[in-house]
Point group: C3
Chain length 270, copies 3
């Protein structure tokens, strides 16, 4: 992985404006739409039965996010996810709060099995739960981090998918190769929606890259860079409100001319 791969992918998103369809939650849906636009994608939040099913025919990627669950939304996610698979539309799944309640445990397992996502991105606790590890979770957030690399790899192998476990370090694996990503900012945990937005960004990259492992690595890398730049821009009088605005700013300003980063200092083979 080198800087050129990241620049080329960003250019490709900005030139082709892939349609990134979301079935997501009301809490962070606006942020997801804006970060998708900031990266150059075309967001569409069609999430109702027939509308969602037809829209996916035009989608470059599909993002499934179970932040707010209903009986109906679970079935829609599975139905649209299955149709995406038959159409070759890559599916990104964000199992928000996967282990927190029985509804979420059941829904996340079903979506994983039945929609067979190309990329599953969760925080460490969510990935550990989906991999069958015993953990305790509080609400939809967690910062568990022990043994995450190995679990990420095992879960990716067992489900023939790419798995992303986010945290202080992020882990990405396709079951064969596993990477650790350093970077980002602790401020990303001070606002709601950075996890959901990361899934949207993965959707943008998955829409333009054949390798979903590469899409996951570049998407997380790009999001971490945006997070760092947003955090660095804050004065002592600016807090999490301004950080949220600057995160979208930084994403919208990522481009070949401003990218002077070295992925080799951030992405490590495990």
């Amino acid at each position: 992985m080198d800087t050129k791969a990241l620049i080329d992918s960003l250019d490709l998103i900005q030139k082709t404006h892939p349609l990134v369809q979301h079935i997501t939650n009301m809490v962070t849906v606006n942020d997801c739409a804006n970060i998708t636009l900031a990266f150059g994608g075309a967001p569409v939040m069609a999430d109702w039965g027939d509308d969602a099913l037809e829209m996916v025919e035009h989608a470059g990627a599909l993002v499934l996010n179970m932040g707010v669950l209903t009986a109906e939304s679970i079935e829609t996610m599975i139905a649209v996810g299955r149709k995406a698979k038959t159409l070759g539309v890559p599916v990104v799944f964000d199992p928000v709060g996967a282990g927190a309640t029985e509804s979420r445990r059941s829904a996340s397992r079903r979506i994983l099995a039945e929609a067979a996502p190309d990329i599953v991105k969760g925080n460490a606790a969510e990935i550990l739960f989906l991999a069958g590890e015993e953990i305790r979770q509080k609400g939809v957030d967690s910062d568990v981090s022990h043994g995450v690399a190995a679990v990420t790899r095992r879960m990716a192998a067992e489900n023939a998918t790419v798995v992303v476990a986010t945290g202080i370090c992020d882990y990405v694996s396709d079951g064969t190769e596993t990477f650790r990503l350093e970077g980002g900012s602790s401020m990303m945990g001070r606002i709601t929606g950075t996890g959901c937005m990361s899934a949207s960004v993965l959707g943008c990259f998955a829409a333009v890259l054949d390798s979903k492992l590469e899409a996951a690595l570049l998407g997380i890398l790009a999001m971490n860079i945006a997070g760092e730049r947003a955090a660095e821009s804050l004065s002592s009088l600016e807090g999490s409100g301004t950080f949220r605005t600057r995160l979208i700013d930084a994403a919208s300003l990522l481009s070949s001319s401003t990218l002077e980063i070295n992925p080799d200092r951030r992405v490590f083979h495990e």
Copy 2:
């Protein structure tokens, strides 16, 4: 049309705080509420059956936005829209993604026919679809622009309504007179919600002006001025996140004391 008409209308909104009821979508609902407040209106997002039906009795205008569709929301939009008509409450309809899926094609045609909105505001692709033109659309966005003026005029005449088609230029017609508006900013397409917010602004103006043609012209003009000011305020380190914030800022700062614009340089008879 002159500057005074715009200033007088803004004053009237800020003095009377008309209740602008929305039946809209979760993606941009917060932005719609905030832009309505910025202009001086009182937003209320009542969108559930009986609650929405009763609320419209107190409304100064009703905004119907089909950004996120459900079977139930379509029926509610039509029922509340019909009641608004019987009460003399002006109705603004934003047919988001009208041509994109069969659900949206069917819903937009039904709402247009059954709720008989006073103003229909869409992007060029949405208006072309509703006017019966053959076009292709990707998701809920589009930038088609050929022959829009004539189609806008024809659709307005055929539906006895005011039609607004937004784009690089905006077209407004009541079927007799047609205007082209220049101005605004390309940044308005870099964030989600500017179209939805425009509909909210049209609701504010329609609530205080008898002529819906004038309301449409002044509303789009005001939104374009806000967009320009927001874009002009951006430094090279600020992107689409800050633009979104500044757009609301600019709207909230529009007033007689700061308005030094000349509509004659922006609004042209076609």
Copy 3:
């Protein structure tokens, strides 16, 4: 009440990160999540039947907000509210637009009676309605303020709860003691969501303090301080969009090191 009580409470929230579950509306849900995070709480917006019912077992506080009503959401609020009571989880109720429509009149009375919230926080018009006073309301907002102190006290006594009536002055009563809080900023009425956010902040304080009267006083006090600081930070070119961002900033920067306020100048025994 002294400064130390406020500082100690803020520290406690930031150290224990209480889970603040919301059943709320799509208009302001993102702001509610971000202000909860800004204060140090862990927001979770679980609002669907079984998921919401199980989540409350882990909650430090439950916030019920009827900004957007559906038949289903009313029942969920009551069911989860009742379960919260049996678990000893404090319940904060925001009766948004309580008197505006028959749906809201009926729902607000039922939630008050059946969920028996620990704190009811509304604007003056909402509290006057729930207390049985005759008032007129426009949409979900109002600025009625006559005789609010006495009504607040009576309603608190009759319902054995803490009542908060917000406005230019805020009134807080447990039925025995009644306080008037001065401060805040008129800008708080220029954006949507400050009322909803206040309820979230009350949830944070109620989760860590046994006295719900103290929680209500400190929560409103903290929100007012954040509002003042946000307003003071605005330049003449910045309006309501920037105010919204800075309000979250100010909340996220409240801490023992920056707090140099004197509650005695802001909180008055009635």
